[in-house]
Symmetry: C2
Subunit: 193 residues, 2 copies
DNA sequence: GCCATAATATACCGATCAGTCCAGAACCGT
DNA sequence: ACGGTTCTGGACTGATCGGTATATTATGGC
């Protein structure tokens, strides 16, 4: 009973995601965003709220679209298989064609002006969340006697996530998939047995 | 034969370095910088050129002041000792008190707007430079029979630098020195023997 | 004391930032 | 055909961005 929206919300959000991915939250201007999305500013604000909300929605879409493999990885039968699946998955995701290199959650806001602090904190929260999930998975494995008694699930999770973040930076610097897969392979050599 | 400068160039540069470290290149505004440095804009431009040149000078000062340990690490007698020294050194540097957490070279520009592309490329160049130096050191070690013949110096250097970059991100997220040292320790378990 | 020189502080520049006002246009229900 | 409602486009807001013109002030040499 009113004028219909002339663009697809999810499709335009996908375009926005790519801009944020390439330029980060602060580096992506509203002009960049609206041009890529093919809509005007009032349409953007009516549909998504503001730049910050748009970014959070883009982040959710990113998780659904590109980070699904992490949930699959967590289902692997052994802790080592989980670690391997995560490392290999990130190496491949960070170097896939069709989108910018690296991980959005890692690269888009690391340091920023005071104004973007809430977004920075949100990203830190999400990074910590995956690490905590991983740690719990490793704790379960240790309790099941699958990891040696002297191993520390928290350290293992932190090491895996550290490698993952590092791979994201390397990918942003142009490092190839094959190279990152070898990095993942080498990281697995540190795994306890 | 002219009015003397009322501030110390190196001391003010040090203040600027801290602002860039905390907020990144784009996140640090000229207002932030001049307030921290205790000087006015014209003084800043007369002394350092512009924001970009100021950042490059701050980067040089950063290398001299905080990255000296890398040169020391490269002088260690064995490849493994080099790797260990680098990892431990970065873990400690990234979590030292008195300055922001993480590594300036890693965190200050990862993704950015088109306008800052030259700075981003400069940082990628510097990151790649250290990795190349490390690779050459490992090649020497391999030639000396110190590393197994099937080892790949390039992969080893890339793995170390990936861990280092990841530690910088973890530090920026508030991870403690002890935790990063354990990450470094675990990474060393992947070292060939 | 006075000049040349260079650093200072204020006030400003055009450009761009995120965000919004408003007029017109497209739709649905009646 | 006509309201009521919602989206669209362009023009605009105040604030902030990096950078600068200008007038003043402090110095050393003469």
């Amino acid at each position: 009973m009113a004028r219909p929206r002339e663009f697809c919300i999810d499709q335009a959000l996908f375009k926005a995601l790519n801009v944020f991915w390439r330029h980060g939250f602060e580096g992506a201007s509203l002009t960049d965003l609206t041009e890529a999305m093919g809509i005007t500013r009032p349409s953007l604000y009516a549909a998504y709220g503001n730049k910050e909300e748009l970014f959070r929605k883009a982040l959710d879409l990113y998780d659904e679209t590109y980070m699904g493999f992490t949930q699959e990885a967590l289902k692997k039968p052994t802790a080592r298989a989980v670690a391997e699946s995560l490392l290999m998955g990130f190496a491949e995701a960070a170097t896939a064609v069709g989108h910018p290199p690296g991980c959005l959650g890692t690269n888009s806001v690391l340091v920023c002006s005071e104004a973007s602090e809430p977004i920075r904190e949100e990203l830190m929260r999400r990074r910590a969340s995956l690490e905590a999930t991983l740690r719990r998975r490793f704790e379960k494995a240790k309790a099941a006697g699958e990891l040696p008694p002297e191993s520390h699930p928290g350290d293992l999770a932190r090491f895996i996530m550290t490698t993952v973040h590092g791979m994201s930076i390397q990918a942003a610097g142009g490092v190839t998939r094959q190279s990152l897969l070898r990095v993942a392979d080498m990281a697995l050599k540190a795994w306890p047995d």
